[in-house]
Amino acid sequence: MKKLFLKIREDKNFIFTLIAIFCAVGWFLLVIHGNFSRSWQISLGLIFSIFYFLINSVWLAKILSRLGFEKEFQFVFGLFLLLFLIAFGLAIPIVFYKITPIYLAFLLILLTIVISLLSRLKRKGEREETEKELALVENNEKIKIPKFIFVLFGLAYIFCWFLLFRARTGADIRSPWLVIHPFYLYGWLFIIFIIGLLIFSKCRLKTFLFFIILTSLLLHSYLLVTYQTGFGGDKWRHLGAEQWLMDGHIYTPALFGEQISYKQLGPIKIPEVFIAGNKTSYANMWGMTIALSWLTKIDIFYIDLFLGLLLFSIFLPFLLLKIGSLFSKKKEFLYLLALLPFLFFPFQIYGSITVPQAFGFLPFLFSLIFLLEYFMDKFSFRQLLKRLVFLIPFLYFNYVLYLIVFLEIFILVFLLKNFYKFKRGKTIWLALIFICFLVLVFLIPLLDTNNQYSSFKKNLTPTDFKSALINFPIRILTSDAIFPRLYRMEQDNWLYSQTGEYLSRATLLKALPWHLILTPIILFLIILGIINYRKLFQPKIGYLFVLVLVIFLLNQFIGSYFMEGNHIFSKRLVILTSFLMMIPLAWGIYCLTEYSKSIFSRRAIIFALIMIISLTSTTVYASGPKFQTVSSDELAAAKYVWEKINSSELTDKHCVLANTWPLLALEAVSGKQIVTGGFLNYSESERVRLFENMNTTPSIRYLEKAIQTTGAEQCYLMTEERWMLFNHQSQIISQLDLILGNHQNIGQVMIWQYLPR
């Protein structure tokens, strides 16, 4: 394998360039001839894709090695960058126009040529690459782990997978923990404990990463495996959008192919497409999903199920190690950093689903590496600007919050670097930093007010400020919700998802109020880490992260106490807050094991800290999510209704009266042809009222009103017994059968069709 990699890197006579182009062309020919549906075609397509990815990843690894990436990271980051370059390349036409398979083929060929040429570029006087190594600094005192522990680890691992599959269900459940056996959590506790021991043993980096990825796949599969139809509500909207785009449609607003809509931005009028955050933020995720579906012929439903989980499990540890290596090369610290995403609920859940907020976090971390390397004096400002020429557009076609945060950190890095660099004029730089700090504290709350998504509360008094100042730290200390629970749906927090309810029946969770004990301990370790930043080789990187963390916490403070509405940006800082807590937490734990010999024995404190990490991870894991989902009956019913509508020759106006969740499924299966059942939006009160009425006192006039509102020629009613008036279900069903004819049963879902004469 190493010889093959070397040959690819050399690429004598452009042979591998030609092979990669051939793979892209070959795939495209399979698509346009024979429709790429026979098994031999699919196998051939997969082979083409594998070779294409392998060759281009090796070249990107070569480019990254020139940019200073260590050899342990090069290939993985090469593969990462290739995937996101494809996503970026497809995002551009998705935003401005539309996409087709020929565009993807063109993109793949163009990328191959560019990457191949760039990988051959050498700077003047540059010798053959000297491979930079990570060079971890190890402690000589190591824990010995008996071999039988690994056998137990394997057994626990398999047992946990068994329990997940045993819990698999198509029913509508509020939380996966209602169906996952409590023993899964004990298995998880044991697995994390073993991984914790590995950190302080003589485990090599490759082996450790192998265990981390394996464990991460298990952790993040609890939603994938448990829910037959997948978890979440927004996923259906994204599936609908992806199917719409794959069918060759334009996703409005666009720049070409339809009338351009404009928006006023101060004194300027610009095409809406440039500031349609809900399109530019999602386009790269749609692009990658569509590309992988076209390349592998796997349905986008399954790509969507697995993509987020695989991206997080494989790439996040490497991204964290790379960023962590800029802080310190201490092995235990870096290993801890790779483990700690298992502790925080935002990382647990966002690594389990494919949503733009999680998807976009990874390219943000990748871009952050360059910013931090500049801050650590690895290259000049001029070289940073060259990188920004690519990174800014790269993040523009990404979840927009991360672009904003990246620019914020860029400004802080610039100011702080000059503060540290110049011996004179420090006061001016400090003043600038302070002004910048004040601006950034209010920036994200102000952005929340965009499009009236949020607004500042009126009639605030000094008492409100006082109680907010006392209440906010208490909420952080007790893992209480920072933002109000809207619509009774649980919102994630920086550590625990929620603390008001036991979702799993595991007795361990009820033994003590763990969140009240463990949250202060974790915060203590974080503060300890921050205090010990002075022990870092260059503490300034730690102080930068502290400054950014304080800004985000203040953003959330302002958003939750002094504003009302959706908090579209400040609420979504949660994964960033957890990330910024993770680094001082890892450093604090490391420092406690290294520098507390006068208080504890090293073995004892390591054991105690691993116990704390394991307990925290397990209790946080079991704290959420709590959310409604689409059941398999609802998905099947949505498919049935779509088939009926699609086969009838009626107008493009549709009417489907149902609960929100089957309508989300319908949006996906119809490829966005039916959105919210033909009504205005999911929370439209008229739709909700009509649906409720049909479930309590059914009458033709409600369906006629629905037809009138949607402009359709017929209307479907989809409902279940659980939505009907209690103790009157059979009467209501009989009445509906009487007025609309016999219903169709799809599992628990009942469907009626109303066709006015």
């Binding site: 004990y186 033994a511 504890f600 024995s601 105690a608």
Partner: protein, 71 residues
Amino acid sequence: MNILFKKIAGTAHYFLRNTFIIMGICFLLLIIAEDLYTGFFSFWFDIRGLTIGVIASGILALFTSRFIDQS
């Protein structure tokens, strides 16, 4: 006095450590039994006392750990 204190602490560490381990295993077995047979212990007593006892013995074992050479 200082040396005596360190000796006592060092000796106490082993007792506390064994208490922590055995009571910890007891705790784990109890919660597993409760999950298998609802009410196995919860109908008869409150486990919070045992949990706090396990944690307390663990903390004391931790703080006496540096004296084990002195025992």
